[in-house]
């Protein structure tokens, strides 16, 4: 019996945000038609690539840090049971309470019960991928509890009745004038003279959330890192909304995927160098908070840590795919991805978009539930080069394509496509031909050989005016 219960399972259906309503090609077609979206994305990703490249170049040992980060994550996965138990022991000894959630439903129930027990009708939230993944906000709302997102981008998304489109900058698809319009329309008490100057927009968010921070007694956060040998948790942020949530309330509930572990305190020296430079392109992000259990007289006096599986053990069971659990959510792979830059995050249907989403979401849900995502890539390899923990995303994509329930011919055609894309001259001419076919009005009818077998079985979006490679050259 216990063998059965103990087998890795995928994230359950009907809860959370790991599955889209439509396949990637269908969703991407909509996005490709939105030229404002494309301009916003291009502007933002170009900016971040430049910043990140400059601060990475300042470190003479970037490659050594990547290798250490990669090895640390592999070693963490290999020792996961022992390290998780160590973490639980340390957090408990420091006055925290540890909960284990096998899936999204159980995690939502645990958090809802904990909030209910405090009597609070409202929680403040720090941006957290794990709580988006499990649909915690919806679960809290169903229980009559109001979740308030406090991260500026999350606030833009929440006020705009929108969905996040990037793991680090969820409102990356919005430019400053769109943000101004959303604030004017939906932010209570906003100054009608609001301009679209970014500091002015940031100031409006500051005023709007102040009172909420001061009066809410429960916060929910995620965690960037949890250190097994000390029980310390770390949240990396910019705005100070994280510090507010981690410091002001009486009760703090942190929801964390079981893969976020780091073995020792010392190991943090690697990730604290990799993450900010790869993600926001800063030498260091403005604020990082670290806490161990409860500190009497300082910060929340009740601390709960919820350890979440929700399909992660199924990812771990795949010897090739398990590397996806090494991800530190820096978003560098999104920012360099020519496919992401054109389609944006919404097309991926999951809270995890871009190259990491294309390998993580199908593994969390089972490939059958996200069958088109492993194809949402040109296998150009830019993500692998950008990844600070050296996750070999292209290899995992190919591996997952072999598992996706598609006609056998498609696998063969994809192999040909992969070959073509590995050979720039062939790829260039195939893509140019595709562009010509677009001009010729053969929209949706297919790609030229050798890519045509694939597009015959998949309704491809119209090829964009500029190919990925044209773009890459001109960027």
């Amino acid at each position: 019996m216990s063998t059965f219960l103990g087998m890795p399972v995928h994230a359950p259906r009907g809860v959370g945000h790991l599955r889209g309503d439509e396949s990637f090609p269908a969703a991407a077609r909509t996005a490709l038609g939105d030229s404002q979206l494309r301009r916003n994305l291009q502007h933002a990703t170009t900016t971040i690539r430049g910043k990140s490249g400059r601060v990475i170049a300042e470190l003479p040992d970037w490659q050594e840090l990547r290798s250490a980060g990669s090895a640390l994550k592999a070693s963490t996965m290999a020792r996961l049971p022992e390290l998780l138990e160590q973490l639980e022991e340390k957090v408990t000894a420091a006055g925290g309470v540890v909960h284990w959630a096998a899936d999204a439903n159980e995690a939502n129930q645990i958090v809802t019960d904990l909030v209910r027990a405090t009597g609070s009708q409202r929680v403040i939230k720090v941006k957290s991928m794990a709580t988006q993944e499990i649909g915690l906000n919806e679960a809290l709302e169903a229980a009559g509890i109001t979740p308030v997102e406090t991260d500026l981008a999350e606030l833009i998304v929440q006020l705009g009745n929108d969905k996040p489109s990037h793991i680090l900058v969820p409102a990356i698809h919005r430019n400053r004038s769109e943000i101004r319009e959303i604030f004017l329309r939906a932010m209570p008490g906003v100054d009608p003279k609001l301009t679209d100057d970014p500091p002015v927009l940031a100031g409006a968010a500051r005023r709007y959330l102040r009172e909420t921070f001061m009066s809410t007694t429960v916060a929910v956060s995620g965690a960037n890192f949890a250190i097994a040998d000390t029980g310390t948790l770390a949240v990396v942020e910019s705005e100070g909304n994280g510090r507010m949530c981690l410091t002001l309330p009486e009760t703090l509930i942190t929801v964390m995927g079981i893969e976020k572990l780091v073995p020792t305190w010392q190991d943090l020296e690697v990730f604290l160098q990799l993450l900010p430079r790869a993600s926001t392109g800063e030498r260091m992000n403005p604020y990082t908070s670290m806490w161990t259990g409860v500190t009497p007289g300082d910060g929340p006096q009740n601390f709960h840590l919820v350890l979440l599986d929700n399909g992660r053990t199924a990812v771990l069971a795949d010897e090739v795919g398990r590397q996806a659990l090494h991800c530190i959510r820096c978003s560098a792979c999104l920012n360099v991805c020519p496919v992401y830059e054109r389609t944006g995050g919404h097309a991926y249907g999951s809270v995890y978009p871009g190259p990491i989403g294309a390998i993580l979401s199908p593994q969390l849900t089972g490939v059958e539930d996200n069958a088109s995502l492993p194809y949402a890539s040109s296998l150009c390899g830019a993500c692998f080069d950008a990844c600070p923990v050296k996750i070999d995303i292209p290899s995992i994509l190919v591996h997952l394509r072999n598992q996706a329930p598609h006609p056998r011919t498609e696998a063969a055609v994809m192999a040909a496509a992969a070959y073509t894309m590995d050979h720039p001259r062939l790829y260039r001419s195939a893509q140019r031909a595709a562009k010509l076919s677009r001009i010729a009005g053969r929209r949706g009818r297919g790609l030229p050989p050798p890519l045509n077998g694939w597009s015959a079985s998949r309704d491809l979006p119209a090829p964009p005016k500029e190919t990925f490679r044209d773009w890459w050259r001109n960027r």
């Binding site: 019996m1 070693s75 096998a102 910019s238 670290m290 300082d298």
Partner: protein
């Protein structure tokens, strides 16, 4: 069967086919490396902190102006200059090492620097901060469990620091008596942080090695900022919008 056991069993089943635990290659730079204070100042200023460098040899203050979002906090003016809210000037209210430091000749220079930054007003101070650091005209509100409202209403906060990192322009607070509860350096709009040169290390690994993870730690690199609008760094969201660093010794 508890969820804990279910999850641990699942992990063991997932790893049953074998998983390698590789050696960790630690050939990145781990220090100790030479501390370049000029570079620290440059990095702090680059992320819009204002640095006041107290140069013991020149016996003067060199303010290095970075940014500051809305001016540099409340400007000098004729304000109520009550001396330190009835707290004895010579004694830090708690904490040992802070008291010794207060005796150092640097106190006068720190006082002058704070007078430059704030002129007059009310600042929250942690219980272990040397009150000699506060100039006439600046009222120290010692945190003995102040309410969030009182902290937020202050013109600023003055703290010491635990460690600083040259390479990243980062200051770390560890909630020692001269740094105080996390809340006090968060709510006021102006944070004045007094940093000693011997607290500065070259790199992140050296800082991690110096810190005690069981204390609440706050790593600060510039004033509150966001990259959420078109991915450019914009200073001034929820944390203090003005960060002044007084570098002594």
């Amino acid at each position: 069967m508890s969820s804990k056991n279910i999850i641990l069993d699942r992990i063991r089943a997932a790893l049953a086919s074998g998983a390698e635990s590789p050696e960790i290659p630690r050939d990145y730079r781990r220090g100790p490396a030479e501390v370049d204070l000029d570079l620290l100042v440059e990095r702090l200023v680059d992320y819009k902190a204002v640095v006041h460098r107290l140069n013991p040899e020149k016996s003067g203050i060199e303010p290095v102006i970075g940014g500051g979002v809305e001016g540099s906090g409340p400007q000098a003016g004729v304000a109520d200059a009550r001396p330190l809210d009835g707290v004895e000037a010579e004694g830090a209210a708690g904490g040992g090492s802070g008291g010794e430091r207060a005796a150092s000749a640097g106190a006068a220079a720190v006082r002058a620097a704070i007078a430059d930054i704030l002129g007059a007003g009310t600042v929250v101070v942690p219980p272990g901060l040397p009150l000699e650091w506060l100039p006439d005209g600046v009222v120290g509100l010692v945190d003995d469990g102040l309410s969030a409202e009182r902290i937020a209403a202050a013109d600023g906060v003055v703290t010491a620091a635990a460690v600083a990192v040259v390479e990243t322009g980062t200051i770390v607070l560890d909630a020692s008596p001269d740094q105080g509860r996390r809340i006090i350096s968060l709510l006021p709009d102006l944070h004045i942080c007094v940093l000693r040169a011997d607290q500065v290390v070259a790199s992140v690994p050296e800082a991690v090695a110096r810190l005690d993870p069981t204390r609440p730690l706050t790593w600060i690199s510039g004033p509150s900022a966001t990259s959420d609008i078109e991915l450019n760094r914009v200073e001034g969201v929820h944390g203090p919008r003005n960060l002044h660093v007084i570098l002594t010794g």
